[in-house]
């Protein structure tokens, strides 16, 4: 682990004055898939216990950035990362940083709900068992707590042994969040988590995000501008692998500083 204190990117220096702190930051983060550069020197500070939306056109590097933060890109052949990622004071790419511990601290939820073909209870218990929780009582308590947090407990309490695949899509996505939450991550990365949900399930899911952000830091990739505007405290705009703008969501959606941002959020061709 490194004890070097990371600096804030200049564009976000105003965040220094806030007492919220920074949960995660990247410093000149670049990413290549083979010879193709997917991220270009991205320096971003993500405020703690807030929702930050990552928006940008397809291919702008949103999901690539997300996958760098808990080193999911390590699994991709030909992938190379340059720059730093700090999770709190931990250098995510330092040789002595254990990846499994990093991924416990930085959870991930994907676009399509991906429950394991196990029971509802075992889905939530999966990560806990992986991290050494064996006692039935503790498992039961933490399963219930996680399912209560995502407002799924009342719907599934009597059928924890049923297959998770029998749940509706909205319920499956909340189950997947519960699975991620069970190991108590500080940061939750969400890659278009509501894109497969119907409007009512989407709103319920967004409500859940607001609730989760009271205690955790959320970084949300979304293609839905209205969703970013509805739920995010801060919004970062990516274009061709570069960070174009980061700002308070209210400011960014009413008076963006960059023409690229304006064109993107208003649906102009630029």
């Amino acid at each position: 682990m490194s004890s070097v204190t990371p600096e804030l990117p200049p564009a976000q220096a105003s965040l220094r004055a806030s007492d919220d702190g920074i949960a995660l930051r990247t410093e000149s983060l670049s990413l290549w898939y083979g010879t193709r550069r997917a991220l270009d020197a991205v320096s971003l500070a993500v405020p703690a216990r807030r929702i930050t939306a990552l928006v940008g056109p397809s291919g702008s590097g949103k999901s690539s950035l997300l996958r760098c933060l808990n080193r999911l890109n390590d699994e991709v052949d030909g992938c190379r990362v340059d720059g730093r990622v700090w999770i709190g004071d931990t250098d995510a790419y330092a040789a002595d940083t254990p990846v499994h511990e990093l991924r416990r601290r930085v959870g991930m939820v994907f676009q399509r709900p991906n429950p394991f073909p196990l029971s509802i209870g075992d889905n939530v218990a999966y990560g806990l068992r992986l991290h050494g929780v064996r006692q039935r009582r503790e498992l039961d308590e933490r399963i219930e707590a996680a399912l209560r947090t995502v407002a799924l407990w009342d719907e599934v309490a009597t059928r924890l042994d049923d297959s998770a695949l029998d749940l509706s899509l909205g319920q499956q996505q909340r189950l997947v969040v519960a699975r991620a939450l069970a190991v108590e991550p500080e940061i939750l990365l969400l890659d278009e988590p509501a894109s497969a949900l119907d409007p009512a399930a989407t709103l319920r899911f967004e409500e859940l995000l607001r609730q989760l952000a009271q205690r955790r830091t959320l970084l949300l990739v979304t293609h839905n501008m209205q969703q970013a505007a509805r739920v995010a405290d801060f919004t970062a705009v990516l274009h061709q692998g570069r960070l174009v703008e980061f700002d308070d969501t209210d400011a960014l959606f009413t008076n963006p500083r960059q023409r690229l941002t304006e064109d993107f959020i208003t649906g102009r061709y630029g």
Binding site: M225, Q226, F253, T254, N255, I265, T266, G267, R268, Y269
Partner: protein
Amino acid sequence: MDRLHLSQHISRQFNSEIDDVRRRVLAMGGLVEEQIDAALHVLIERDAAAATAIRDRERSINEMELAIDERCTFILARRQPAASDLRLVLAVMKMLADLERIGDEAKRVARMAERLLGDEGSADLTAALAELGEQARGMLRGALDAFARFDGDLALDVMRRDRRLDGLYRDLNETLVARMQAAPERIPAELERLWCARSLERIGDRCKNLCEFVLYLVQGKDVRHSGLAKGE
């Protein structure tokens, strides 16, 4: 003139909806300008005939206000606009109220001017009222031009002109009060002139409001109740 690139949406339908709103505001502004012209014609040229058309135009202005407001509501509901698109819709919805009230002030001036047709007054008073009217009309023209061209500098320039209009109003006010003190029998006529002057001065205030919304639209800055709004 499209400094805000409002015609560059991927959706051509959205481009035309935005353009339609913009054109309708300018058309409504044109009618309001005609109301001021007509009111000044009655007041300065003592042409009673000009008052007749004012009532018809007022109906048109009111109808346009409702129609534009409705279109803005549809854009908000269907497009969920952001950034300059959002600022345009918000600015227009607020500008509509000021434009409609400028029209009302013009109608008021015409009504009072009709009551003054039998009163001779003085050449000086007529000249002072004419200057006040010209200033107010010029401010409206400037505000509409600033909106048409999305020109923040012009909007600022028009806002600064309000100080001159206020000065003219104060001077005329003093003159009229002095005349009333000197010849109490003239009080009813001079009061009508005072209220005319007051309406013209208020038109200037409302033009300043229009310019504040143009600045919000163009620069994203809300300058209401700021030093800028006071002409500083």
